[in-house]
Amino acid sequence: MIIELLMFAMLFVTFAMITAKRINAVINGFMWQSLLLFAAMLRLAVASGNTELYILAALVLAVKAVFIPYYLRKITAEMNVSQNMGLILNPFLSLLSGIALTYLCYRFAGYVFSAQAPADKLMLTISVSVIAFGLFLMVFRMKALSQIIGLLVMENGTFLLASWTSGGMPFIVELAVFFDLFVLVIIVGTFIYRINKLFTHIDVSKLTDLKG
């Protein structure tokens, strides 16, 4: 029951991220999603009693729910760009595509799990749709920041999928993934900051022309 509610809350937050028009709203959505991921990890850790899972949960909280949102907010404030995400699809169409994506993921989960395992099926549906929503954010938003956020959302989905279906990857792999993510956010953040300096905007749809 608890894990079902957490999954539904995750779906709620991810839908909200898809409708959001402002950069800060999407960053907040990512923070809430990470907090829910933390709660799900904690639930898993309590259920299995594995110390490594507690450490992973703490890492999720520290890196994804505190550090990354803080850093993203900081660079958006420093870049002083407009809050508009630059939507290619309007919020309502985005929501409808979100529904379609979730339904596809549900059908996909139906092929993997039989009807006897409804909890696994729900988990698979929601984590795969979180991955799909991350991709959606990367493709259908114009500002370069949404590319990082989309990638982070996809990573959240993969993390959820990995930790629930297989009880977690090997500990050292998880640590490496966290380190990777940490470095990636800093590098891409700096990169976007540079793009903004050079082009005075971070609109990826206008980056196709050469600038001498």
């Binding site: 029951m1 079902e4 509610l5 539904f8 709620f12 839908f15 529904i99 549900y106 409804p118």
Partner: protein, 299 residues
Amino acid sequence: MKTVHILLQVLFAAAFAPLVSGVIRKIKNSVRMRTGAPVLQPYYNLFKLLGKEEVRSVHSSWILAAAPYVVFASTVAAVFFTPILCGGPVFGEAGDFLVIIFLFSLGRFFQALAGLDAAGAFGGMGSSREMFLSALVEPAVLVAALTVSLNAGTTDAAAISGGVLRSSACLGAAAMLLAAMAETSRIPVDNQETHLELTMVHEAMVLEYSGRALALIELAAHIKQLVFFSIIASLMLPCGAGAGLYGAGGYLAKLLVISLIIALTEISLAKMRLFRAVDFLGFALVLALAGAVMSAAGF
């Protein structure tokens, strides 16, 4: 015996409803570090209005005079079908969950007519906005109702409120909460705290009213809010059959939590542009749809 119970429940709802509004205002003022009006202020307002003379435009027709009574009567009729103190008795024989939504539409129809009737510039604008919003709210409410109806296997309010809580109902409850914010003219969609602003919706329609008629309309708005909260507290999130006193306590606790959520949303958000409300209520509809699908999938 059951009839007496239902009548007592309706009287309780009518007497209790303004208090909920008062509590929400009090929470908002406390968070803003203001003293604010006392919790009982909505009652004082109602009594003050009842003692005042009613003024009606000479150019208005009978619709303006009749609308407050229709609005009030339809709202009170809706209370007859809503289980108030979790599992409280309802007129199950006369109608089900969907009748509540129908009765609200009846009230809204007359209110919109009354807004047009006096031919004020604000009234017509308010009516047109109200109908625009209601076209968006109703699908969300109906699909959210479908979620719990699927869970319980019936649309009968008493049976739903006596059912077990399933996790898909929580998605429906979230959708219903967003719809309730729009229906009770709360901040992301409308603003209760202001008159004479170009963005208002509900207040624009009732601008022509004064005295006793205004008191009736305000009381109806308080009751409508309580009914919506009760739909969330005892239908969307049922607390099980025969809960008795324990259920009543749970109901009051849920009401407090809902008031807290509404109050905190109101002070932390700005009012949306009218056409952004489409996205807000579309989100509610999508949540309700997700809830209905999950309910059909057995969660």
